[in-house]
Symmetry: C2
Subunit: 195 residues, 2 copies
């Protein structure tokens, strides 16, 4: 009899959720170093010591905050000619839609100076992006290379548009992104490739 979720949403659960929400917001905006535990506590209207009580350390808080589930669609079932478009559409949903949290922003903001975040980001690539691309890559041996190229374009777009906020990339409409980046991803995934 394993009961993972005892029915009472005790008071501590709410506090715990508040801390986590504040942490996700501040980590996404200022990165691991830039968001102090005191900042998180202030943003959650709570004492800094409570942050440590609920999450044992800043590292563990960051680990809890930096969870990412891209929920990428299976590419096998859709039309083979619209793979690139499907990918970039899902990408825009993840970043700008309300459902997906700031998980990717959290990782990307800290990955350049925090080895844990970098490793986590490599994990997201290996366990979420790569399998989806591998399922449709023509010679299976090319799967890694194709997935890597896809990641480089998507990650660069995210950097320019959401983190660096490069004006001309911010100005791009959804349709412009889909019609320009879609074909790139399409070629990276199923295009004829170099040996």
């Amino acid at each position: 009899m394993i009961e993972n979720q005892p029915k009472k949403p005790s008071k501590s659960d709410r506090t715990r959720a508040q801390i986590l929400e504040a942490a996700r917001l501040l980590f996404a905006e200022h990165g691991y170093d830039g968001a102090s535990i005191r900042d998180v506590a202030a943003h959650a209207s709570i004492d800094p010591a409570m942050v440590i009580r609920y999450f044992r350390s800043k590292d563990e808080l960051f680990a809890r905050a930096a969870v990412v589930d891209l929920q990428l669609p299976a590419l096998r079932v859709i039309d083979r000619t619209t793979i690139g478009e499907t990918l970039i559409r899902r990408f825009l949903e993840i970043w700008e839609g309300p459902a997906s949290g700031p998980g990717m922003a959290i990782l990307l903001r800290s990955a350049t100076s925090n080895e844990f975040a970098a490793e986590k980001l490599r994990d997201v690539f290996g366990n979420q992006v790569r399998p989806v691309v591998a399922a449709v890559a023509d010679p299976a041996a090319d799967a890694d290379r194709r997935a890597g190229l896809v990641s480089s374009q998507l990650l660069g777009l995210a950097m320019c548009r959401y983190l660096l906020r490069l004006p001309p990339v911010v100005a791009l409409s959804h349709d412009e992104i889909i019609q320009n980046v879609g074909p790139t991803l399409q070629r990276y995934v199923v295009g004829e490739d170099v040996s």
Copy 2:
């Protein structure tokens, strides 16, 4: 009679250069926050106070270390069908060749959590990448958008290959990068575009 370079390479000049070299190395590897003045001083085998004496503050030291000159080739004179290839070749030289310093790595490593680095990176885009693309973009009005797309791909590739060190992207050979990313850049710069 303006003499910008008095002939004597005084002792202080050498020390100054040592500090700057150590700073560029550490900033490129650990970012602005991750590289302390004490680290830089230790790496240059001098006292931390000297770093402040020669450069007035850490911010100023970082500003001096984060200078970038891409020396992008003028795209007008070359064959219009090899623009993408030319760009990606130059990109690889900048990152892996011995001539260009770690300037781009310094900026990219800190741009996600340091507003000065972010602004400087946007400057590099606006003053070095954009003009080169604008010179050949077909409707001049598209120049910004095209330059932005080019930047997103190049910046993403740099992130994955040199900072994040994503294994399949690190494993790519120069030829593979040229033959895969080249066409992408070609289309971004001179391909038919969406309104």
